[in-house]
Symmetry: C2
Subunit: 153 residues, 2 copies
């Protein structure tokens, strides 16, 4: 089953945006992600609605952070990209007549809900700026300067 990489990609983009002190174009970002500008605009549109980024059109336009990374959690970004389905695992039938299947659903749903709750709780605890700090540590450990992070950036 194909994975949904929107959260992952947008986090990547947000971190690079903070490094840059200028608007980044969809084309630049697309090159960075290995995809194309239309998809970038489509996905960033959700972040814009949440005020996490702002976009400007025309000459010198592009995408910039709408607020500091310390003021967004992974949960915020997850919701901003549309709160995609978390699990590939699912129930065969959501509202079955069969009592046996209802028992199966109850057990599975309860377990999935618990795992989902844990995941979202963790997401809510992690600020996007925490990832940047982790990145900074990695860079320091390798003796690199910040800004040379992405081969294609």
């Amino acid at each position: 089953m194909r994975h949904d990489g929107r959260l992952s990609r947008m986090l990547h983009v947000l971190l690079h945006m903070e490094e840059q002190q200028r608007p980044m174009t969809s084309e630049e970002i697309a090159g960075m992600l290995g995809t194309n500008p239309a998809l970038v605009r489509r996905t960033l549109a959700g972040l814009r609605e949440g005020g996490y980024v702002v976009s400007e059109r025309g000459h010198g336009g592009g995408w910039m952070l709408g607020r500091p990374l310390a003021e967004m959690t992974l949960r915020d970004v997850y919701d901003a990209v549309g709160s995609p389905e978390i699990f590939a695992l699912g129930l065969a039938d959501d509202q079955p007549q069969c009592l046996v299947e209802q028992a199966v659903n109850t057990a599975l749903r309860q377990t999935l809900d618990e795992a989902r709750a844990l995941l979202l709780r963790r997401f809510a605890e992690i600020r996007v700026s925490d990832l940047r700090d982790d990145f900074a540590s990695r860079a320091a450990a390798l003796g690199l300067n910040v800004g040379l992070s992405c081969a294609d950036a």
Copy 2:
């Protein structure tokens, strides 16, 4: 994203198998699940390899439990159907050069791993027979006899 219902379906089937004191044909099971016999055979094949069910060909053949439901956990069944991917959420790139993306991956992977571990731990704690007991309670609460559970069974 379409869900993977194999675990859910096989649990449903196992519980019905226990009720029956005779082999169930793939066609019967397929009718119960609202699908077709070939798919049932394909999926049950995994359970047979694990010894959770046995199959007999020819006249009077079909599928039966290979061991008591008290001796299988949801985790066992999950593994028997091929340990399908749990998450629809995923990373954009598994082994990126970009340090920023590595930081993103580390955080996401850690959180997903934690949620996965919780899920599998819970699965390992639940015996299939526990679901049957839950089902029995439901039936009792509705004043029904066991055996009248599945409209199509």
